[in-house]
Symmetry: C2
Subunit: 219 residues, 2 copies
């Protein structure tokens, strides 16, 4: 039976939800690696809705799980229904949604809150010593939940974000867009993706390496 | 200077807009081929909005261009602003949006209407003998605009859809998901993608071949 990798999506569209290319590249890389993706998202309202043509906030309400279902072609679960026992690893693509909907890092900084179901699942996977991959800004979620363990993470090289992550007890390590940073003791890998990326191919390179690393740690 | 390939998106999400994987795979393949993608969409209201978690229609209005901007990360034009002279080729990814928002094939069948800006651009590109690629259900658009030229197209092997396409004067040719059908005289190539696809990798194979074919015809 294929190993199952949870993928936490945070909406659909990089300004208010999951970064679409990062999410799709993760799903492609998982399929290439012979792993089954288990897409999931929290059943909560989005922090806000951004018109991606203008970049402006609009007076609309959208649900994170319902919008994330667009990326998953409807094949998605409410994260509240998923336990750590059901999956062999966990990956969080980025996009502002990771920092607005999975936690409030984008609004409140490192003192913000993490969605309780996201916190529970990240903690359970870590406690079970199963691998996790954090992409783009989602290492902020990793730091907010696991900072006290001294986990090593990268969001690229933005000094302000790196400092916020270090303030949570995590260690930030600079990394280029097409590379990954591995914390093998904790089985945690991260890649900067669109924190630094200028085009899809370089983002793809980092995400493929991240998924390959997760696949090797699952064995 | 890089050759420019127009990509007509029809929203964001396969049930009421552009198929996200097909769109992203097209953009990845274009980048790999050294071509510049020029994303565009009509500035019109979606035919309807589907909740992708439940599959049910919801009482909401969304704009095709605004939603397509999610897939394009905001880098998208109103198709009304694009002339055939500005681009070297044109590709239409699929998703129900191609048959609901770019034309009314999904509602009215082959006698339906095509968005006038889509019709104009497809006609102009054809008249200029520049290549075009149609993915998934979007060959229905190709048949509605260019059927009278006897163009060869594939939507996979669905008999009803093939018959509808033939009723417009086009010739339908069965094709498997990871392959393409070429009409070299008219420089038109098509691939079934999610009309037949069971997973991303086989869809990716067909789309990569389609983009490669377009790239060769541009030379």
């Amino acid at each position: 039976m294929k190993k199952r990798v949870g993928v936490i999506l945070s909406g659909c569209g990089f300004l208010d939800g999951a970064e679409i290319y990062e999410s799709v590249l993760t799903l492609i890389a998982l399929e290439k690696a012979g792993l089954e993706a288990v897409c999931m998202a929290p059943d909560v309202e989005q922090h806000h809705v951004i018109n991606h043509l203008t970049g402006n906030e609009v007076a609309e309400k959208r649900n994170v799980l319902v919008e994330a279902a667009r990326i998953a072609r409807g094949n998605i679960k409410n994260i509240a229904e998923i336990t750590g026992k059901e999956i062999d690893a966990l990956i969080l693509p980025g996009g502002y949604g990771a920092a607005k909907n999975l936690c409030s890092f984008a609004i409140d900084g490192p003192k913000g809150k993490v969605n309780p179901e996201v916190r529970r699942l990240v903690r359970d996977i870590f406690a079970a010593r199963k691998p996790m991959g954090f992409i783009c800004i989602s290492p902020a979620v990793g730091a907010m939940v696991l900072g006290e363990t001294g986990v090593e993470l990268t969001i690229g090289d933005d000094p302000g974000t790196a400092e916020a992550i270090e303030s949570l007890g995590a260690h930030h390590v600079n990394c280029s867009v097409s590379e990954i940073h591995m914390d093998p003791d904790r089985k945690i890998v991260s890649t900067p993706a669109y924190m630094l990326g200028q085009n899809i191919l370089e983002v793809s390179s980092g995400i493929e390496k991240l998924v390959q690393c997760v696949a090797e740690w699952i064995q």
